[in-house]
Symmetry: C2
Subunit: 366 residues, 2 copies
């Protein structure tokens, strides 16, 4: 598996999709390593798994600058993260900033769970003037999608921080699915956050990571004591109890927890600053091209709202022909999301994606 071409994955293709996306160049090596060490056979209640758990949590905390008093839980997906946060951090009232499919899913999940969420909704492609948001006094939880993967709009941490300062007694949840590791979280402003590993970490899907502070645990315990349904095996009490033993309530995706630790180690070695710089450079190239282009204008007009990791272009001629032209050269790029399937393309900009390939993509588009 080590022999695979470093720049490509699959049958000669390079995936510039927004996740699942191009896998980490060393994925084959890491998977093989885990197999040879017997990691896919070890007990999730034993010492060896405990060490693995501890290593991955520690490496992730270092990489994402997570304060020591935050807890890291392993779950199935980011989608599960939405459910768990809503069950454990809000009895009835969450407030959602909605500007696309994933922020809307967060809102709808609250409804499905029988709660009464409120929202501030703006059109797709737009961001928020967060300071002007009227958040009802009885709001228990504010839910923010840091990077709206469906439209390529991002929210800045200083804006979240300013909002949190105005609502210190309210819990803040951040969907950081497609923004990590590039965009660091302000852990003073965010009480809990979640992501999945098939985007910025270049891993196969099947693992979600949930990061929560003591305030979230406290809220969950209050709800539990009052008989509110906070879920069963993955409620925060259960996750916390097992995390204290370097374990998970169920048999988890041990392979992915192992590989995540290895990818974090690799990113730490490379240096997050260097990853960020490269990401900025690729984003600059892409947006500069789109801004100069008549055929492919950037969907997000305002620079401050533009995501650096999910770049969305309008394709008035239809996305299918553009995607086809790119795929013929071995570049797999994402179609638009939902209603924009035929009129947008979405380009992932993650650590696995090389500047030289971005330049080649732009050449194909020219």
């Amino acid at each position: 598996m080590n022999k695979q071409r470093q720049t490509s994955n699959g049958v000669g293709n390079i995936y510039f999709t927004v996740g699942p996306t191009q896998t980490h160049p060393k994925l084959g090596e890491y998977l093989n390593e885990g197999l040879e060490k017997g990691i896919y056979s070890i007990s999730h209640r034993g010492k060896q798994f405990g060490e693995l758990f501890t290593h991955t949590v520690s490496s992730l905390k270092t990489l994402l600058n997570i304060p020591p008093d935050f807890h890291v839980f392993f779950i199935g997906s980011a989608t599960e993260g939405m459910e768990l946060i809503l069950e454990n951090c809000a009895e009835d009232k969450s407030f959602h900033f909605v500007n696309g499919a994933f922020s809307k899913r967060f809102f709808r999940t609250a409804q499905e769970l029988g709660k009464h969420p409120e929202r501030l909704e703006v059109p797709a492609g737009e961001g928020f003037d967060m300071q002007k948001a009227l958040i009802p006094k009885d709001t228990e939880l504010v839910c923010i999608t840091v990077n709206e993967t469906s439209t390529g709009v991002s929210v800045n941490m200083p804006d979240i921080r300013a909002l949190k300062l105005k609502h210190p007694g309210t819990l803040f949840a951040a969907d950081i699915v497609s923004s990590v590791p590039y965009a660091l979280v302000d852990w003073d402003a965010v009480d809990c956050a979640f992501f999945s590993v098939q985007k910025g970490f270049g891993m196969p899907s099947g693992l979600g990571v949930l990061i929560v502070n003591g305030a979230c645990i406290g809220k969950s315990e209050q709800l539990k004591a009052r008989g509110v349904n906070i879920g069963s095996f993955h409620n925060f009490s259960a996750l916390l109890k097992y995390a204290g033993k370097q374990q998970t309530p169920e048999t988890p995706n041990v392979m992915a927890i192992y590989v995540l630790g290895r990818v974090c180690d690799d990113y730490i070695e490379k240096g997050l600053a260097s990853i960020q710089k490269e990401t900025d450079e690729k984003a600059r190239l892409l947006y500069a091209f789109l801004d100069a282009s008549v055929r492919y204008p950037a969907f997000v007009k305002k620079e401050a709202w533009r995501s650096k990791t999910v770049i969305v272009a309008e394709t008035p001629e239809g996305s299918a022909t553009v995607l086809k032209r790119l795929s013929e050269r071995g570049y797999i790029v994402g179609a638009g999301y939902g209603e924009f399937k035929d009129t947008h393309i979405r380009i992932g900009n993650f650590p696995m994606h090389k500047v030289e390939d971005v330049k080649k993509i732009l050449k194909v588009l020219e």
Copy 2:
């Protein structure tokens, strides 16, 4: 990765644990194949994933003889299976056959979800006289752990069938975690069942499979219509809606869904009858040894209750020394579960385990 020794996994060890356990001998090959085909990068909303989904479901249905009208859903773990079944198939009243840690977890999960479960509990190591069970008339769901992995006690399908005939209007759920693929389910008697892939399928953990019929879907829809909380992204309506498109609500563990399809293909080629025959032979060797042994008597005394896939022995001298003696020869066997940690050993008997290795283990124990 193809060069790994066929009989061993890890640093020369062979895992006879009850799951996670010895991995399928072709696991490395399958993982590599998926990487080379680009499967870890494809979109879970695209055609290629749909084909993969369809193949795995179809292969699984063939192997486990699942009727065409049952639905196969992919979830995170068997533990999640318990939660989902209870949320979607019982508003308040489930009834549980409890004889060990996992059947108890099923019962407790119902309590955690705010329901009012009842149970018939017998001591660890014992099975049930199911026909004598007094199941209250208002029971919505009967929960049966076909193979109690903590103690090595199993329930026979004809007994479940007889009970179902007495309660045709009640849904029956079966935990088949450590019994598949060896023990086929009587799909006339069971409305839903779940398992995870790190046992009889020899895969890394991180994927659960949930199999449900129309009656379960109907019940779930009734509960939803009445405003009962049936969960969000993994409620049966959501799972069904996406399965109809050969998809999952969230980005799933695509790698594991792919590998599961390959393992099923392999088992179908080998023939389930042949796998069952080998399993019987290994179980016969193990129980014959234990029954003739003073130092390691079988924990389950009654033959009809004895699991063929999880064989538990008492270790009056303490389990630690036995486990150590075995591990020195490269055989990793499980300790007892929970309170039996120091006084039992548990031996997994799955398709990856070879008769010759069972004989060697018995030689070490002699």
